[in-house]
């Protein structure tokens, strides 16, 4: 019986192996190959990445903006998920649909919408002029801020969903018990709700931060001349100059970074739970 059950997982494992792990391995091999076509293993692609300040600078810029996107997403998502799970349960479905809409929108359509919305003389600019907050041009589009706005919009729904699921599981009788024992709302939140929702927060952070590191569409279109990030460099390597080897090497440096940050996060998450 047990063997049969294990057999059932076989198709899934096979699909993963063929379509996810094998391509990764192929790219990994590429990253150790020389552009000159010489046979054998070389570290030249990785050496190029770590010796040119250019690529380190762009990686640093990518990490800081990804952290900003993740932090802002968290600030928006937590209260929203909290109210959906614990306060306005009646509006839960409507809110969820509103949150999930960007999910269903084509990436390019979404980015172009922001382009039109944020541009000088665009909808937002006109509105802020009318209510007297801004006098001239907004000068928001084609800056790092515009990229962060676009990315938060693209990724925060993931975070709302993971935090919501964690909060939903928090037993309401615990909250009642806390209240009946004389704890104020803040104490209850800090000592019960927050620790119990931590797994959702950690997953949410990962699910937003990781894809942020590799994006290139939002930075390129919304960031303008200031939009270059490590993701656009990888894109250029693959599509513009067929520098697959170097492109693969950068991708694996990012990959290592992702693994490291995930390990760090889950470690931090566990420590928080144990406290």
């Amino acid at each position: 019986m047990k063997r049969k059950q294990q057999l059932l997982t076989l198709p899934g494992v096979l699909v993963l192996a063929i379509f996810a792990i094998l391509p990764l391995l192929i790219m990994f091999v590429y990253s150790f190959q020389s552009d000159s076509g010489a046979a054998g293993v070389t570290l030249e692609n990785y050496a190029r990445f770590f010796t040119k300040s250019l690529y380190l600078k762009l990686t640093y810029r990518t990490i800081t903006s990804s952290i900003a996107v993740t932090a802002i997403s968290l600030a928006i998502s937590y209260p929203l998920a909290y109210f959906m799970a614990k306060k306005f349960k009646g509006m839960k479905n409507i809110l969820m649909i509103l949150v999930i809409i960007p999910f269903f929108t084509n990436q390019l359509v979404r980015v172009y919408s922001w382009l039109i919305f944020l541009q000088d003389g665009g909808v937002l600019n006109k509105f802020l002029q009318t209510i007297g907050i801004v006098s001239g041009d907004l000068e928001l589009l084609f800056t790092q801020k515009a990229v962060v706005i676009g990315l938060v919009h693209a990724f925060f729904p993931y975070m709302v969903v993971t935090i919501y699921l964690a909060l939903e599981r928090v037993d309401n009788s615990l909250l009642e018990a806390s209240r009946s024992l004389g704890a104020g709302p803040f104490t209850t939140f800090r000592n019960i709700v927050l620790p119990l929702s931590m797994p959702g927060v950690v997953t949410g952070i990962m699910i937003v931060f990781v894809p942020c590191l590799g994006t290139f569409v939002e930075p390129r279109i919304l960031g303008g001349v200031r939009g270059t990030v490590i993701g656009t460099v990888i894109e250029d390597q693959f599509f513009e100059i067929f520098g697959w080897n170097f492109g693969a090497a950068i991708a694996f440096v990012l990959f290592a970074l992702v693994v490291l940050s995930m390990a760090g996060l889950s470690h931090a998450g566990r420590r928080f739970e144990n406290e």
């Binding site: 665009g122 279109i221 001349v225």
Partner: protein
């Protein structure tokens, strides 16, 4: 047991599919098949043209589409003999195709319309190796200056307009290492195909950077920026500018006196082609006066056939940068080795990361 049954079905399906594939490549009724590798919607897949050519030559045209120049090379390298007949390499990739022995040496005597070609295309450097010709130019175009006619009553006279602080925030050059390096080289008076002072090129581009509203990448992106009045002067493709003008946008296009970037697409015959006579006939038709005139005047790229060029409305030709004055101002993009591409790309990344 059940597994065996499914295997049987699978085998049967595979056989059916391979049969269907055979039917596709080996001409039915004994008529010859001409297999063309080209971009989608790029002149040769026009149904009217296909119909006429098939009837006149008693053949069948099959298209294989490519999505990049590199893919064309790969297709040529991996195709079996007789699988591909004619291909459309750009001049930037052509020397690689010739070097790898993928194209047939051409006998221009079999291409009567060759004589009508503009002189400069008859001797297009990239088409030759050791004095032998392997490919013939077909159409050309340019990447030059597009401007909003409301903001510029007269066409800008020099690429310097893209480096002029007076237009800060109104300029957009393309996010493309090749265009960027060539543009800066033109502005600096260096050879755009072999700039000798790349440091100066980089400095020039860094100096130009804050003047841009943004760097655009796709034609679609540019249309939106232009239509939304975000950009009024830009580095732009001739074809797209002509299209936007037809759509009613207040857009002008000019190849200024100090020059701009040009490109040439060429036709070659694959080494393994089994229908060489037919392939020659196709090449000849491609550069014939009628085909070239019809396509160019319907919004297509510029003709290499001088008789077709003469027939085009001079005003339209000048406005879309296809007249002879414009032609002679262009620096045509040349073949670049991987090392040059890598160096230029890194230079451009440095500019963007500034």
């Amino acid at each position: 047991m059940r597994v065996k049954k499914w295997l049987g079905v699978l085998v049967a399906l595979t056989m059916l599919l391979s049969l269907a594939a055979c039917g596709g490549s080996g001409g039915d009724d004994g008529i010859a098949t001409l297999t063309i590798v080209n971009w989608k919607d790029y002149g040769t897949d026009d149904p009217d043209f296909i119909k006429v050519f098939e009837e006149e030559n008693n053949c069948k045209i099959v298209h294989v589409y490519m999505s990049s120049e590199e893919e064309l090379l790969t297709k040529l390298k991996t195709a079996k003999d007789g699988e591909i007949d004619v291909v459309l390499p750009n001049c930037t990739i052509l020397p690689a195709a010739i070097e790898n022995g993928l194209l047939l040496e051409l006998d221009t005597g079999k291409i009567p319309n060759f004589g009508l070609m503009y002189e400069r295309f008859k001797t297009q450097e990239e088409c030759f190796k050791d004095g032998k010709m392997y490919s013939i130019p077909w159409v050309w175009g340019s990447t030059a200056i597009a401007y909003n006619t409301n903001d510029f009553p007269e066409a800008p006279a020099s690429v310097g307009v893209l480096f002029d602080p007076a237009y800060t925030g109104k300029i957009a050059i393309r996010d493309d290492y090749n265009d960027a390096v060539m543009l800066a080289a033109i502005a600096l008076g260096q050879d755009p195909n072999n700039p000798d002072d790349l440091e100066a090129v980089k400095a020039k581009l860094i100096e130009q950077k804050p003047l841009n509203k943004t760097y655009w990448k796709t034609g679609d992106e540019f249309s939106k920026l232009f239509a939304g009045n975000q950009v009024s002067v830009a580095l732009m493709w001739s074809g797209q500018a002509a299209f936007m003008k037809q759509e009613g946008e207040p857009i002008g296009f000019v190849i200024p006196k100090d020059g701009a970037i040009g490109w040439v697409d060429t036709w070659g015959i694959a080494r393994g082609s089994a229908n060489q006579e037919l392939a020659y006939k196709f090449l000849d038709t491609m550069i014939s006066e009628n085909f070239q005139y019809d396509w160019a005047s319907a919004g297509g790229p510029a003709p290499v056939n001088s008789a077709a060029g003469d027939r085009i409305d001079p005003e339209y030709a000048a406005a879309s940068g296809m007249d002879e004055i414009s032609l002679n101002r262009l620096y045509f993009m040349q073949y670049r080795t991987d090392d040059v591409k890598k160096t230029w790309n890194e230079l451009w990344t440095e500019v963007k990361a500034e």
